[in-house]
Every structure is written in C-alpha cells, then in structure tokens.
Amino acid sequence: MRSRSSLLTFTLILGAALLIGALNLAVPPGAAMHAPDYIVSLAGKYTCYAILALALDLVWGFAGILSLGHAAFFALGGYAIGMYLMRQIGARGVYGSAVLPDFMVFLNWKELPWYWHGFDMFWFAALMALAVPALLASLFGYFAFRSRVTGVYLSIMTQALTYALMLAMFRNDMGFGGNNGLTDFKDILGFPLAAASTRVALLLASALALGLCVLLARFVVASRFGKVLVAVRDAESRTRFLGYRPESYKLTVFVLSAAMAGLGGALYVPQVGIINPSEFSPANSIEAAIWVAVGGRGTLSGAILGAVLVNLGKTVLTGALPDAWLFVLGGLFIAVTLFLPGGIAGTWFIRKPRGARAPAAGVREAAP
C-alpha cells in the first residue's frame, strides 16, 4: 500500500513537471494554455525546496532530530554546482580570464585555489554537491550523536553550524565570492541557461530527482532500519537495551539526508542563477522546518506538500504585502503547532494505521 502511494507521488511529480514543460514549450506564448517562463522557474524552485523538505523530514519526522541547519547542506550543494557554472563561464567573464572567475581577478589572485580544481568537470562538481554536505554531516553527527546531544541543544548546534558557515562564506578570502557569491552563469553542460528549453530540462531533472528521493526515502523508512529509526525517535534508551546503537542510526540517516539536501541545492542554483552566503542564514533552515511542520512531519508526501504550499503562499504574499510574510510565516507555525500537530498530511491524508481500531469486542475476552 505504502510503496504504491510513493509510486503515485513519483508519477504525480513527474507528470506535473512534464505538463508545465509542455505548456511552456509546445503552446505558443499568448495562447490561453501557455505556461509562462516564470511558472517554469517557480516550479523548478519549489521542486528543489521539496527535496530539502523531504531530506529534513527524514531526520526530523522519522528520527526525531530537529535539524535547524539543513539549509546549510542545501547551500553547500548549491555552491558546488555554482563553482562548476563559474568555471563554465571561462573567458566570457568581464575580465576575460580563461581560468579565474571574475571575483578572483578582481581580488588580484593569480591562480586558482586548490579547492577550485576539478570543478570544471560536471561529474566532479555533481559528486561534490553530494559528498561535501555528507562529509560535513558525518563530522558534525559523529560528535553530536556520540555525545548524546539531543533535542533543543542539537537544534541550537545546527543553527550555530549554518551561522558559522554563513560568516565564513561572507569573507572574500575564503575564495567563494564573498557576499556577492557566485553568479552571472552562462551555461550548463554546454546548454545556455537563459534558453527556455534548458529551463524546462532543469525542471524535469529536478522533478525526476525529487521523485527518486521519494522512492529512496520510502525504501529507507519502510525498511527495518526505518523501524529502528522510529523506535529511536520514540524511546531512544529502550533501543540501546535491545542492542541497537542509536548514534549510528542517527548518523546514517543524517548523512543521507544531508546529501539529499545537497542534491536539492545543486539543482536549485542553475535555476535561480545565483548562490550567495545568505542561503546559509539560520532563518532559511527554520523556514524549511516550517514547511515540514505545515505539511506533516513523518509523512513523505506531507513534507513535499508543505514545501510547495508554504512557498506558494510566500510567492503570492511577498508580491502583495512584502512586509507581512515573516509574520504570516510565524503565525502559520504557531497555528500548525497548536491546532494541527500532524500537519496537513498527518491530519487529513493518512489513513489510520492498521489496527488503530480496537479488535472486535469478543477478541478481548478471548485473550486473557
């Protein structure tokens, strides 16, 4: 049942992306059914946010780890692809250097820093978009989980992590473009980023990635591993007395989740055309937690739904009442916490688990 519903989710996501893509490319502009370019890029952005939400739901909804630093993993994935996109610009930059990105020429750097090597190759950058967040998550998680840091302390540590990264990335001498970040991208894999067809392709790639992440997440949470995760979430010390090591379970899912968030960021950056240190801002991670809370943590489709709905609200509201958004977001969070603790999906979608009903009255007698 469950696996069929995630196949359905997969199909819906891909179907929606294909539809938007077709309405954009195949229907001439001006026709009533034409999907304008901004719809394509909005849908692409939402899809990437949904990947982040799914990643966060894996650790928060299923393992009870409220990470308030997940946007950092997203941003790191974004920077990795951003570095590739910078190097693709080549001599077309303002300063015309074939090797050095513009900001390095501007800083009077003579050669590429060692950690920029390899990013001229797409496969390498793509690998780094997953590996760097995973590596950071494994370092952080190893120490945090081994020391049995949990609950609000862990959340605060993740906030500190993303904040520290933001401050570091703001510095010019880090070699990631300082507060301007990485931008002015030209093309990806030889295709111009400005072309409508490239944008549709990126949307489809994001939708495919999200769909595959749903299937992967479903596999993980439905496995015995996933059952142990939920057990750890609900009664961590009990799992220890059964011989499980909660810290290794948390670490595994945290690393997987960080890589997933990195994937989201990697798909996000080519579509929005910029990555800068503000993506590490602690508020971004908190926003992601609100998407998941609104959609319904502990349900995969809920996380996706929450990311899309809240961002839809944000898009509409920031257009109409730019100053009101943060208040609405805060109010939304409080309202969901008070009145809808299971989120949208947890409240309306999920059938009661098998056996949530009491067995027939006679059964109770039969069992002593």
Binding site: R240, F241, T252, G355, P359
Partner: protein, 245 residues
C-alpha cells in the same frame, strides 16, 4: 560454583548518597531469583549497573566466565544476552505489537544490515510463537500504544523473550496489573523458568510467593537477607524494614 552473574562489592553514589553499598549477589545459570526491598533500596539501580546504564564507583559485575560488564555500554551488554524490562513499561508505541517483537528478535543490529533485512519465515514463526506465549496473538497488528497497561507489560516481556537472552531482568513486571493478570504473569514466568536465568524485582508478595524461588532482600544498597520465602519472611530485620511496614 560456576555463576552466570556475579555482582561483587558494587557501590554507586549519587552526590554522596549511596544507592548501592557494597552489594554482592551470585546468580547460577538457569536460576530465577526474586529481589525485594523497600522503596529506594537500590533494586532499580542494581539493574542499571548490570545493564550498563550506570557505572559503579567500586566493585565488579562479572557475566559468564569472565566478562566484566562494568567496562561495557548498554548495546554491548544487550548483545551479550542480557535483556531488561523497565519498571515503567517501555514499548515502541508507534509500532505494531508484531513490529515491537520483530525489532527485539536476536539478530543483526548494524544499520547496514537492518537497511536490507527482510523478515524471514523463521522470524515470522518466532514472532507468532512469542505472541502466543504472551497471549497477545489477537493484537499482533495493533499499535503498541493502544494496549492496556498490563498488555504493555506482557509485550515488554515478549520483547525480552524475542531477544533470546541468557539473563532476563524484570523490574516490577506486575505493577499496575489486575489480580488475574498478575496470576497469569506468574504462570508465564514459571513457563520460561529453567530455560534462562531471571532476576525479578517485585513488591507484590503474593506474586513473589507464587514464583516459589530464592529471595534476596535489599535494604539501603546491600543485601539484608537471602533464602526461601519462609526463611526471609521469618527474619526479624526483614519484617522490620519491609514486610512489617
């Protein structure tokens, strides 16, 4: 004498207060032992020490021939074959009764194993057998959180059986049970007796009497008396600190 568990002069202090004070106790393989004593005597603390939750300030806890448990942590001790039921029933409320047992079954515990583990036919049979033993067969697909208090206690005993441990530690297994449930639990314990060693902590003297095993009386962190139920209940010191209250 060869022992399964040998607690040797264990002392545990909390901020200067001695919860265990030179406690010594020997348990033979296959033996069932009842531990009684007033509130705060150190019964739960003793189980904390055996299972690695609390590290003693002094003393040794030897399991089997020569494994010093005080050097190990909880998962390692659990994997050696020591299972524990908590004073407050502790089951996984969001999992079904069957899944609670599945997660408890002896087997691989590493994430890379459980990620790809499939429920084998042998495991399913074992779960069904335990469900029968703990009388929860009709409830197999119910969420554990929806069970009654007594049923949760049984489920937790079932989880211990699923672990297939050599040593079972039961902290007040009949607390909060009705008289009928208590009698059934005593019967259940008599069924598993002999197949493995069991330490039962209980306040319910009728239950302890029904078990009909050797009794250790704890008081202020050390052993006050030891012997048959008739022997300890005739001991004036036991009557004074515990039975006569």
């Amino acid at each position: 004498m060869n022992s399964l568990l040998y607690i040797d002069g264990v002392t545990v202090s909390f901020d200067g207060f001695r919860a265990l004070d030179g406690l010594s106790l020997v348990l033979a393989p296959g033996e069932m032992r009842a531990v009684i004593g007033p509130n705060g005597a150190g019964k739960t603390t003793m189980m904390d020490v055996i299972t690695g939750k609390t590290r003693p300030d002094a003393g040794r806890v030897v399991f089997g021939a020569d494994t010093d448990l005080t050097a190990l942590d909880e998962p390692a001790i659990a994997s050696l074959g020591i299972g524990r039921k908590f004073q407050k029933p502790s089951v996984f409320e969001h999992h079904t009764v069957a899944d609670n047992l599945l997660l408890s079954l002896a087997g691989q515990r590493a994430p890379r194993r459980t990620l790809f583990a499939r429920e084998s036919a042998a495991e399913r049979l074992r779960i069904e057998a335990i469900l029968g033993t703990i009388r929860l067969t009709p409830y197999r697909d119910l969420l554990a959180g929806s069970l009654s208090h007594g049923q949760k206690q049984w489920l937790e005993i079932g989880m211990l059986l699923a672990q297939d441990p050599e040593l079972l530690l039961l902290d007040e297994p009949v607390a909060g049970m009705t008289d009928a449930e208590t009698a059934q639990t005593a019967e259940l314990l008599r069924e598993i007796r002999g197949t493995r060693s069991v330490v039962v902590v209980e306040h319910d003297m009728a239950f302890v009497r029904a078990l009909d095993v050797k009794i250790t009386v704890l008081h202020e962190g050390s052993v006050l008396a030891e012997g048959s139920i008739d022997h300890v209940s005739a001991d004036p010191r036991v009557i004074e600190v515990y039975l006569g209250r």
